[in-house]
Point group: none
Chain length 201, copies 4
Amino acid sequence: MSGTHTEKYEQQRREAIRSAAAVFAEKGYHGSSTRDIAEYMGIKQGSLYYYFKSKEDALTEVCLYGMQDYVERMNSISSSDQTFREKLVATITSHITKYREKNEALRVYNAERLYLPESKRTRLKELGTGYRQQLEQIFAEGIEKGEVRSSIDCQFAAHAVIGMCNAWGEFIDRHPDMDLFQLIENCVDLLINGFKQTENN
Amino acid sequence: MSGTHTEKYEQQRREAIRSAAAVFAEKGYHGSSTRDIAEYMGIKQGSLYYYFKSKEDALTEVCLYGMQDYVERMNSISSSDQTFREKLVATITSHITKYREKNEALRVYNAERLYLPESKRTRLKELGTGYRQQLEQIFAEGIEKGEVRSSIDCQFAAHAVIGMCNAWGEFIDRHPDMDLFQLIENCVDLLINGFKQTENN
Amino acid sequence: MSGTHTEKYEQQRREAIRSAAAVFAEKGYHGSSTRDIAEYMGIKQGSLYYYFKSKEDALTEVCLYGMQDYVERMNSISSSDQTFREKLVATITSHITKYREKNEALRVYNAERLYLPESKRTRLKELGTGYRQQLEQIFAEGIEKGEVRSSIDCQFAAHAVIGMCNAWGEFIDRHPDMDLFQLIENCVDLLINGFKQTENN
Amino acid sequence: MSGTHTEKYEQQRREAIRSAAAVFAEKGYHGSSTRDIAEYMGIKQGSLYYYFKSKEDALTEVCLYGMQDYVERMNSISSSDQTFREKLVATITSHITKYREKNEALRVYNAERLYLPESKRTRLKELGTGYRQQLEQIFAEGIEKGEVRSSIDCQFAAHAVIGMCNAWGEFIDRHPDMDLFQLIENCVDLLINGFKQTENN
DNA sequence: AATGAATGAGAGTTCATTCAT
DNA sequence: TATGAATGAACTCTCATTCAT
């Protein structure tokens, strides 16, 4: 891909993806027009098609973009040698702060990816599945080390963490004044206590 | 409202709301056309306007409809004389099973209400706030009775429960074979343990 | 088809087909815009889609319309009990006068049908083939009765007649003052002499 | 024209005309994009404008190119000292084989020239008229020498030959397996017999 | 000699909405 | 109570064309 295009092109293309992310995040995929995106970017509508083959293509790119470093952070968390608790804290922190960093692309991924046709969703699904599996693995290790009670279903646990983070993500997006530090602490507290080893279990 | 219209009209109107809910839930608000809704209902596109002033009006009605008995159930749970645990179980069960009963209206409320202009959202906000406050109250009582540790922030707790239920709701909607009983049990387990009184707290 | 729509609808639809025929005939399929057609018909662009599913659909209908009574006339000629010469005269007359009657639809069929996807062309092909085969049959009879020399290839003959008529059709369309009577006579003369039995053949 | 440009330029320009011919022939004038033409030629869209002032200009050039050696051949046939029959055979053979040689430019001339504005069509008309007049002259000579009956209208005859050849040209273009030799023989046979002197005429 | 980037106009199509019947 | 017919605005997308480099 790089090599076939000039530096300027790639730069503008990234800009286009970011613009699409911002607009989709605000108005939703179907609620956004290509003119909206172009205007946000400061070019004319028709010129968008120099960077995207179609509006759907734009959505695909935004979703991929949104997942990428999200997944990368999980890779590094998962492969580190922290304890279960530390890894869980890191995961939650990473996930929630991404929303505060206004990572519109991730929100778009969560809210709009289902509008993509199956064929364009395969790569996205792989990324999502990869993320979840690493989180499951963290829980599995937690059970091994006795930090998590063995009755916990790792799949359930992973989904629950992700779901809760996304829910809070949406929330803080609409409440910009919220104290993230306190929120993360509360989440960690809830989840750690909810999953941890108990005397009689 | 009632009184000016015949019985049949009201009946058809409810049918129109349910149709709109079904279509919005499947395709999203902007992705749905008024023709889609009319077709789903078995009437012609123009006839919809006999029941809705506009498409936006339809969304408003759907969201209200989606919230109504959801909130009502919470009213009866909240005012019953069950224990904290029982109330939490009832809340989660009510919330999650609503999704399995294909309560499309609730999904639409969660996913699309933000497309409504502020003015049309006031009543919805009141309902949502009411729901959350009752849930907060349940936690407050849990703390009083020593079933929940006092360090828990009731607002946080309520939001967390709602967020998690919605997340699972979306999930089971895409996984129709999932075992709801097990899921609810896992949720209850996580939340009860996550919030409950501990020795040193 | 009839029965599902009102009388007015069918009437307007026919009007739409005629308008499309006129516009396509003048500017070609790709050179015509749906706005052109609508304007010609005296309605607004968007309203066209009440009568056609797409521009391509309009082309299909025009082509079918153009072939229909053209083929019907051939049916009646072919099944009459005229002599070979009379049938040939009738065919040529019918074909050429259709162009003078400003049967734009037939011109469109000839010039633009290849832009239709294979799937939409089957019915058209059948009609065209039917027409040609009846003409071939006329020649076959001519041979039997000794009016056409037996060395003539009926397929070639039929194609030649059709091709020549179309060529003249285009021509007279651009030369509205031309004397059709003389032209038809010349064509008949050429073809009859070209195909007729000779002493040494 | 030559003199202001290098050799390479003229070479590339001819290549551009041939490319435009090929693309126009396949998709029609309005159905072709300048990008199609450029791609066919192996250059970029914008670069086409180095060789053509506009798309319309390209069409003009293609039509001229298509007529040129077509007319030249007629010149040499017409000025040779062959018999009427020989000249007719040569004309038909030349015309029909041009289509098999995939002379796209000629097809484009026939199918698309009417899209050009009057002003750009004068030179084309001259060429076409010249061609036809030479063919008329051949018939006139045929009458003089008693090979064609005197009642024949030379204008009609010339048009008829051209029309028939074009019709078959289009046909063989869609039927690449057809036996050209047989076809030409049939055409000659039809036309010679159709026009020749008869006992009683 | 050729291109990358951009544009403005216009294409086909959809759709919320209206209204006479 | 419901519909057929129409509309106008908006939409996604294409394309001929320009021009600095």
